[in-house]
């Protein structure tokens, strides 16, 4: 059963949302004042004047909300806040230990609220909401003050919870690229109306036309092959400095050939990822584990779904060889090469990533004087796939390049881009 809701709060927000049953991490974006927070407040039932009809899938729904301002209770410390939230926790709520670990705030438990920084307070606020065990968690720019690395970890934790438990997250953020990468489906709100709902590929064009994004990003699905050679060399060199008994080359070769467990990679680890049968080199910060392989049956209702160890392992190992991942490619970072014979192996460019594409469309920006055009590309899959399954890619290039390279519709080109 799909999740659906309809809201009407005159002059603030109106529209209908219908989501796939499998979607549990929903991104909400739009310009400031568009009605995103009003939408969340309607869902939470805080707007008395709103007409809200929701179908969450035949269950008694517990809705949690975390505002941009953490609103921690200052008369108790961090642990006191978490304890208060457990007073009416639902059966499937996670423990305080699990929540503080996932939200990176274990070390803050004994701290007074007044001593927390903005980012720390936001982490505690999310942990507080999680220990209450909501079915729906509304995050209204709740991670805006958290540094990018920690934020990505917390998002990964939330997506993990969404995958293995009954949780569904609605996340409002202005970091559109991050949201596109993370979300199963997107909701685009503009001028008090829900303009578009659906998977990322279908919503991005609406956002682009609505002016919410200057250049559209493409979301690609891929499979991790292994850690890229250069990264392993670097790791191996570090290990030889610390352990004299280790030799570099044989270990590197062994790791490259048999790597299935990448140890503790960091944000700068570069992975080899197969997308549409072609190899890309992607840093960890540019990709995120996909959940498509996780069996999650919201259709069977939210009531009996317990996280199991198999699901957890699948999430934990998603960045191991064979793990499915998603990555975002910004149109502004894609360049076009018409020399289709010069693929990565014989290219003289430092840009490692190259995908064979066909130009589907050349769109001039509204302002013709801008000197930029948008190319809509279709990646040519090395495997046999129908045209519908072939992923799209976008590139913003200059009109000068279009004329110099004599680019035209249906032309074969190589799209080059970095994902570091």
């Amino acid at each position: 059963m799909s999740v659906a809701f309809e809201v009407l709060l005159p002059s603030r927000i109106e529209g209908r949302v219908e989501l796939r049953a499998s979607s549990s991490f929903i991104g909400i974006t739009g310009p400031s004042g568009a009605g995103k927070s009003s939408l969340l407040r309607c869902i939470a039932g805080f707007e008395k004047g709103a007409l809200t009809q929701a179908n969450w899938g035949n269950m008694s729904t517990k809705i949690g909300i975390v505002f941009q301002q953490p609103l921690l209770f200052p008369h108790v410390n961090v642990e006191g806040n978490l304890q208060l939230a457990t007073r009416h926790a639902s059966e499937h709520a996670i423990s305080i230990n699990e929540a503080v670990k996932g939200c990176h705030c274990e070390h803050l438990l004994s701290k007074q609220i007044a001593t927390l920084s903005g980012g720390e307070a936001q982490r505690v606020a999310i942990a507080r909401a999680l220990v209450n065990g909501p079915h729906i968690l509304l995050l209204d720019e709740s991670l805006s003050a958290i540094d990018a690395v920690t934020r990505r970890h917390i998002y990964a934790f939330l997506r993990h919870l969404c995958a293995v438990s009954q949780l569904t997250c609605f996340v409002v953020s202005h970091d559109i690229d991050e949201l596109l990468l993370l979300s199963d489906e997107m909701i685009y709100v503009c001028a008090g109306k829900i303009k578009a709902v659906g998977n990322v590929d279908s919503v991005v064009p609406n956002m682009y036309q609505g002016g919410a994004i200057h250049t559209p990003s493409a979301i690609l699905n891929g499979v991790v092959e292994c850690i890229a050679e250069a990264t392993l060399s670097s790791h191996a060199e570090e290990s030889t400095h610390t352990n004299a008994e280790k030799t570099t080359h044989p270990e590197q070769e062994m790791l490259i050939e048999h790597a299935t467990d990448f140890g503790e990679p960091d944000q700068n680890t570069v992975y080899q990822v197969i997308v549409s049968g072609q190899r890309l080199y992607v840093s960890q910060k540019s990709l995120i584990a996909a959940r498509s392989s996780i069996v999650r049956s919201k259709v069977a209702s939210f009531s009996e779904c317990e996280p199991n160890q198999a699901d957890k392992n699948e999430i934990d190992n998603s960045l191991s060889a064979g793990g499915q991942v998603r990555l975002a490619v910004k149109a502004s970072e894609v360049s076009i090469d018409t020399n289709t014979a010069a693929m990565t192996e014989n290219s003289t460019s430092s840009i490692l990533n190259s995908l064979n594409c066909v130009i589907e469309d050349i769109t001039h920006f509204d302002n013709h004087k801008s000197g930029r055009v948008l190319l809509n590309l279709r990646i040519i899959n090395q495997n046999d796939m129908s045209e519908d399954e072939q992923p799209a890619l976008h590139a913003v290039i200059s009109t000068l390049s279009v004329s110099r390279l004599q680019l035209a519709k249906n032309m074969l080109v190589i799209a080059r881009f970095k994902l570091l």
Partner: protein
């Protein structure tokens, strides 16, 4: 200050001091019980008549105490409905009694308890209650566990101001309480009596005592309120503001 002699503090004066503080304590406690829900309702009430209601409740701030005392004297007299009802209920008159003094003090000191609490509740970020509600707290539990601890400062200020103001009460007490030792003779009235009797030494002791007491209460309230005006009672209401 050689005229401040411990011998002057006799049993009668001690009784007067005890009665004054008893009246202030009973009034302040009752006021908190009455005013807390009243302030919460007013803070969340949106109506055209709100300013009118607030004006009526703030009247004792500007009204001459003798005016208020005169109307209370009429209302408490056995000829009035309230006075008759009280007489039938207790067998004694409301006017010139300790109970009458408490009732008069409640009305007279009401704005001093109401203003800090009202300001505190108005300035409280109502999203705290929304968060509490999303965490499963009932409205009452949210008020008890979240709002009241958050509004600790205005509550203490309201108690302190109404206590100190009741101790210094004169006009209303004179009108409805008279000057009955052990029953209605509070410090301010006793002081007036000493001055009339030209007992300046005793008057000095009482005046100095009231002066020091008032100063200490206000100094404590200012210190507690972080230098802000205690009557606003808004310190620490929204801790997020500092971020």
């Amino acid at each position: 200050m050689g005229y401040v002699d411990a011998d002057m503090v006799n049993a009668e004066m001690l009784n007067t001091v005890l009665l004054t503080f008893k009246l202030a304590l009973v009034t302040s406690v009752l006021l908190l019980i009455i005013v807390m829900p009243l302030a919460w309702i007013l803070a969340n009430w949106q109506h055209k008549a709100k300013s009118l209601v607030l004006s009526v409740l703030a009247l004792p701030l500007v009204l001459p105490p003798t005016v208020l005392g005169f109307y209370l004297l009429i209302a408490f007299s056995p000829q009035s409905a309230l006075g008759q009802w009280w007489l039938a209920l207790t067998g004694s008159t409301l006017v010139f009694s300790f109970q009458g003094l408490v009732l008069g003090s409640l009305i007279y000191s009401l704005p001093f308890a109401l203003q800090p609490l009202y300001s505190g509740f108005v300035q409280l970020d109502k999203r705290y209650l929304e968060v509490a509600s999303s965490l499963g707290f009932s409205r009452l539990e949210g008020l008890y566990r979240i709002v009241l601890p958050l509004c600790k400062a205005p509550i203490i200020v309201a108690f302190g101001l109404s206590f100190a103001h009741t101790v210094g009460e004169f006009g209303v007490v004179l009108m409805i309480g008279g000057n009955i030792p052990g029953e209605t003779q509070v410090l301010s009235i006793a002081l007036y009596e000493q001055v009339e009797a030209l007992e300046y030494e005793r008057a000095h002791v009482m005046s100095l005592g009231l002066l020091v007491f008032s100063f200490i209460v206000l100094a404590l309230l200012y210190r507690f309120n972080g230098g802000a005006d205690p009557s606003s009672g808004t310190r620490n209401i929204d801790p997020e503001r500092k971020r």
